[in-house]
Symmetry: C2
Subunit: 388 residues, 2 copies
């Protein structure tokens, strides 16, 4: 029912969109009584979501106070934790990065250790931009494995020993006193890419090609998480070229077993071009190593085999390729395009855009921030906070 009522949250949404600035505008747009509008604006001012923004000329000629959404009043803590590496940021409520850093942080160190370092780094970043924990309206964390989004607990994450079922939300609330949201890293990358580069697009598919291979799905402007929050898994789809190849999931013939960055690195090492991970593969491709170019192109074709089917099934307007391996230039994309344009139906490809992520390794932290912003500025959440 709450969504039917234009509460404080609905007024905030109107002020954010810019279609109203004054009390009179809001009364006219919503049909609410002037006293109700005033009461809700007071709540929004008290919560610091809005700020007086000078005077506007009202229709009667008398100056009226204008109000504006204040993106700088509160900040968001954002973290994108990968298998071996972490990127952290403090952003404002428009997902603009105010301070950031990135460093090696193996997820295998376990939750207590990793989250401890996360908390310390957040405190340091806050200091850097002259803010305190009191300014924080939430923390968003991306993890490299499946997460039950409602509880924020990792669910049998294959590469995260010690994290299964760990109460990440509770830990961060206790340590930092902030509300947190957790999701898997590819979902937040999809959110970041959609918010930053394609806000007008309804349906977007974000594919991350790094050590592993996964995807994030935007359907009708919203993240499609699926029934168990497990949606977007494409690494364990069967591909012809992987027939019989054993995969870490226990099955054989999975996409990740032939096209993941770790597998490509091992293959190149065996061929005499030493590489430890996907970053090394990219380095070799950029240096013009023919073996690295060849395996990268073939990985693109293998990934394209699965994506060709998903382009038919999901019919996205935009397909974005991100993750470490996407920095291998056009070789990966060329392989992907080759198979999609061969296999997918013309109706699904005629207006399809296939491109590399423009955010690069920042997609995750921006998406983690967007996840928090959309949650705290959701009209229902604002209403609840305003009436507390």
């Amino acid at each position: 029912m709450t969504t039917e009522t234009p509460g404080a949250g609905a007024l905030l949404a109107i002020l954010r969109s810019g279609s109203a600035r004054t009390r009179a505008d809001l009364v006219r747009l919503t049909g609410l009584a002037r006293s109700t509008v005033s009461q809700r604006l007071d709540a929004l001012l008290e919560q610091r979501w809005i700020t007086p923004a000078g005077e506007a000329i009202s229709s009667g000629g008398r100056p009226a106070t204008a109000f504006a959404f204040d993106a700088g009043a509160r900040v968001v803590l954002a973290a994108d934790l990968g298998a071996t590496h972490a990127r952290l940021a403090v952003t404002d409520l428009a997902a603009e990065v105010l301070a950031e850093c990135s460093h090696d942080m193996p997820i295998t160190d376990g939750p207590e250790h990793v989250l401890g370092r996360l908390a310390e780094t957040f405190e340091r970043l806050l200091q850097q931009c002259g803010r305190t924990l009191a300014d924080v309206c939430g923390a968003g964390v991306g993890l490299p494995g499946p997460v039950e989004h409602t509880t924020g607990r990792p669910a049998n994450p294959p590469i995260m020993p010690g994290w299964d079922g760990f109460d990440v939300l509770g830990w961060l609330r206790t340590r930092l006193g902030v509300q947190a949201l957790v999701d898997n890293d590819v979902n937040i990358m999809a959110l970041g890419e959609h918010w930053s580069a394609e806000p007008a697009v309804d349906n977007l598919l974000f594919v991350k090609v790094g050590t592993g291979i996964g995807s994030g799905v935007i359907s009708g402007h919203r993240l499609h998480r699926g029934a168990q929050g497990a949606a977007g898994d494409i690494g364990h789809a069967q591909v012809a070229s992987a027939a019989g190849q054993p995969c870490r999931c226990g099955n054989t013939g999975c996409l990740e077993a032939v096209a993941g960055g770790a597998v490509l690195a091992a293959r190149l090492t065996a061929e005499g071009a030493p590489a430890r991970d996907s970053r090394d593969v990219v380095r070799l491709v950029r240096a013009g190593d023919a073996r690295a170019v060849r395996v990268t192109r073939q990985a693109g074709r293998d990934i394209g085999e699965v994506l060709a089917m998903l382009v038919n099934f999901f019919n996205p307007a935009v397909l974005v390729v991100g993750g470490d391996m996407s920095e291998a230039g056009e070789h990966l994309l060329a392989g992907i395009r080759e198979v999609i344009y061969t296999r997918s139906l013309p109706l699904a490809t005629q207006h399809l855009t296939i491109r590399a992520s423009g955010l690069g390794d920042r997609a995750g932290v921006i998406g983690a921030s967007v996840m928090v912003i959309e949650h705290v500025l959701d009209p229902v959440a604002v209403d609840i906070a305003a009436s507390a």
Copy 2:
């Protein structure tokens, strides 16, 4: 902006949900002025969406008029057109069938002829239930091919000669004077199944196995149509057992080329068990023909190969199998389950329900009706009608 304002449509949604019955309830729930609520109720009464429903005891003890959504005040025309067969119905605004019929109607007869018969049949069905075209608030039509949903025009439908780009909406408006909505048949079947059997489920995948193979996708309670309205196509996914097999789409190795009802019928005929179409295949399976059971089970496995990947990618709570072939009892489902439980990730299958459609061949007409009901009772649409 319109959605932020509780217009007539929002009040109607509240009355439909049953959480308010009187003017006073609505004032309390929405924060609108009593005069505004009265004005909007008048508009809804005039449009016949609601009806006075006796008296309720108000908090002051004085009896107040109660209002209720009137599902019987208006009717919907619904049609599900298949390749060779059509099912038509008149329903009320709760998608309850008031009159229906089904008969052979080859889609290859072309749009003028098929829609002409459609219109005549609708008029006859209206008469049967004592209603007229003046009671109709819309017509919903499902077609066996891709449809650009916003314009209602078929888009390069492979088995519908003469229909490409045909203005179905304009034709029905001219002939019957009603607003129409058109979508492909599998989308409306998914809508019908979701509305009737799984209204609480967020994410549902409906797979139709008939002459061809397609799917309808419910994401977050809404039909996911994709960028060109082409979402749900799974018939042209590559499967291992179809390697090299030519498909009507011009490619080779497509699912439909090995597991579609038409292909199964041809295969059985070649093996000495004559069958013209998927219905004949089902008849043979039901008669216990071992050859028919075997090809049906294998078709289930081939379809399961594609669905195993989609269960990982889409993570539905419920997977419903419908279409003619789903009436072959457990043989098709057993093949599908066999491969999904072998190939999909445990996280995605642990709570997954896989079942045959409970609506059978009525899923399409009910979905066509639901498509219209959701459209005409959408708060914004009601607001526009109420202010006209």
